[in-house]
Amino acid sequence: MSAPEPDTIALARPAAAGILAAVPKTAAGWCRGRNLAIAASVAAALAAPLAVQNFVVFQLTLVMVYGLAILGLNLLTGFNGQFSLGHSAFYGIGAYTAAILMNQNVDYYWTLPCAGLVCFVVGFLFGLPALRLQGIYLALATFALATAMPQILKFQPLEPLTGGVQGIALLKPDPPAGLPLNADQWLYYFTLAVLLVMLAAAAGLVKSRTGRAIMAIRDHPIAAAAMGINTSLYKTLTFGVSALYTGVAGALGAIVIQFVGPDSFPFLLSVSFLVGLVVGGVGSIPGSLVGGVFVLFVPNLAERVSTGLSGAIYGVILLIVIFVMPSGAAGFARLAAARLAAAQRFLTTGFAGRE
């Protein structure tokens, strides 16, 4: 590629500099920019339900629920390199735990820690046999879990607890007295609060010593073991934490949708989580939320374009997304940021290469 003529650079410089003025110049600047972006997103999320209709509030709540579930999958797949097609099962276990407890008159907010705990234990136990399996074999084992879940929920001897094929219908929780919010808006804020806490916890986990161990196992299991990391322990623990996240999402989902049934958690839900994970960005915490948006809205969009061909349109959109952003939204953002930084360097120093 030939370098542009000097006078074109001189002409382009003021215009480009205007655009790039908004781009931070140092690592500290990037960090400040990120904090600003987080603050702006939280502010937008806080304001959103006051501006839109109840149905949209409900949809946005579901986006957060799916985002949280995808975050759970991301912890396992994106950060620890273990593949799972079984997360619909953990989501279902979380949802049923919440529903069964609420049927016993437990307050809805207490069902979340219970669902998380139950899923952590199940995930941890499932992680033990999963230790022996990798890649496609692990995919099959988790797939077995996903297909088993609806049938276990329909299992006759468990019917008094699970309601069998009928499922369990729930009541929408009332907002606390004195708050000027309707039930949908309250659930939205409740979900948002849970989501923020769990996002912060996930970010903290990833940054910690434990998080580095988890990622080292993904990047090179043998080297990680050689450095003294107990790979078996960390892998099963990650399985448990991942299931915990998805289980809490399931419990939230049950409260928001006010119904659980055995066929609400089919294998296809796992596929949706996987699609959301990849579209949002494997190994990116904010990407999980982008995935949640995609999983909820794009199928609806495809349905609106054409009812008969909705699957085909969904597939085409998905292919375009993969073609444009092979590493998901997070990878795309990272690439765009790198390009911008390079452009900026070029404008200030006339040298576009790496420093």
């Binding site: 046999p129 074999y137 008969g308 597939g315 590493s327 998901g328």
Partner: protein
């Protein structure tokens, strides 16, 4: 004892379907090193093409050959157009591309040929096989064709230069390129062959499960399970795995209490996972040892 034997035979008959599919699955795995999740839908689409040609008055074997040929071309085209551009993308992104392809094929077939169930003729007829009450001529024919395909593939991969080149391209793309193998085209060829095998499997399966856009979903899952059980690196193992899955599923349905029709799949899968615990690369699979 009589009942056990009957269930085993019936299991073998359904197992033949899974074996055919497992073979197609392993084929593409050997060629491209990925599992193709859209394989079942590709087979379904090929079967619909054959059906359409028969509706237009083409005789069975003509439609059969044309469908296999078209599938081969289609498989190569899908690789060139859709998967070649993203072959450097992360493996999970490619997996999602498979899911997209699945969705596109399933939905278009439903739109073109609608979701009503259609019958598909069998070249072998559906009369009982040699007077047996359990296996029909068609099922026996299906087992036969699967075994013949397996034999031909074995000869192709072991005996021909092209087969050797394809194996080399799958096993070690870089070294294969260094000795002058056009790895990109080998992969495309693998896609074509797998689509063609899938088409044969689809046309054999269609008379049993009836033709409709969702016909391959369950079959593909069992096929995967069979392939993984037998070992993804072993076509013969995959065929045996497919038969084994059929038998396990049938026995579980007959002898384990509380098992409904749907629960059979779960039991079969858990048996398979149990086997994988002991042999993580499948019963006949080679354990891949890599230098660190």
């Amino acid at each position: 004892m009589e009942q056990l034997l009957q269930q085993v035979l019936a299991g073998l008959a359904t197992g033949a379907i899974y074996a055919a599919m497992a073979l197609a699955v392993v084929m593409i795995y050997q060629a491209i090193d990925h599992l193709n999740f859209a394989q079942g839908e590709m087979a379904m689409f090929s079967t619909f093409l054959a059906w359409q040609m028969m509706q237009w008055g083409v005789p069975y074997w003509g439609a059969f050959a044309a469908a296999v040929g078209l599938s081969f071309v289609g498989g190569v085209a899908i690789e060139r157009v859709l998967f070649r551009p993203i072959h450097n993308a992360p493996i999970l992104s490619q997996l999602v591309a498979f899911i997209a392809l699945f969705s596109i094929l399933n939905s278009s077939a439903g739109e073109i040929w609608d979701f009503t169930i259609k019958t598909f003729p069998s070249p072998f007829g559906t009369r009982p096989f040699l007077g047996s009450t359990l296996i029909s001529n068609h099922q026996a024919g299906m087992i036969g064709v699967t075994l013949v395909m397996l034999g031909l593939l074995y000869l192709f991969f072991r005996g021909s230069r092209l087969g050797l080149a394809m194996r080399a391209a799958a096993a070690n793309p870089d070294s294969a390129r260094l000795v002058g193998i056009r790895v990109g085209w080998m992969i495309a060829l693998g896609w074509g062959m797998s689509a063609a095998i899938g088409a044969v499997a689809g046309m054999l399966i269609a008379p049993v499960v009836f033709l409709e856009p969702n016909m391959m979903l369950g079959v593909l899952l069992y096929g995967f399970a069979g392939a993984v059980l037998g070992g993804l690196s072993s076509p013969g193992g995959a065929v045996l795995g497919g038969f084994a899955v059929g038998v396990i599923e049938n026995l579980a349905g007959a002898f384990v209490p509380y098992i409904g029709r749907e629960m059979k799949l779960t039991i079969a899968l858990f048996v398979i996972v149990g086997v994988l615990m002991v042999r993580p690369a499948g019963i006949f699979g080679r354990v891949v040892v890599s230098r660190v």
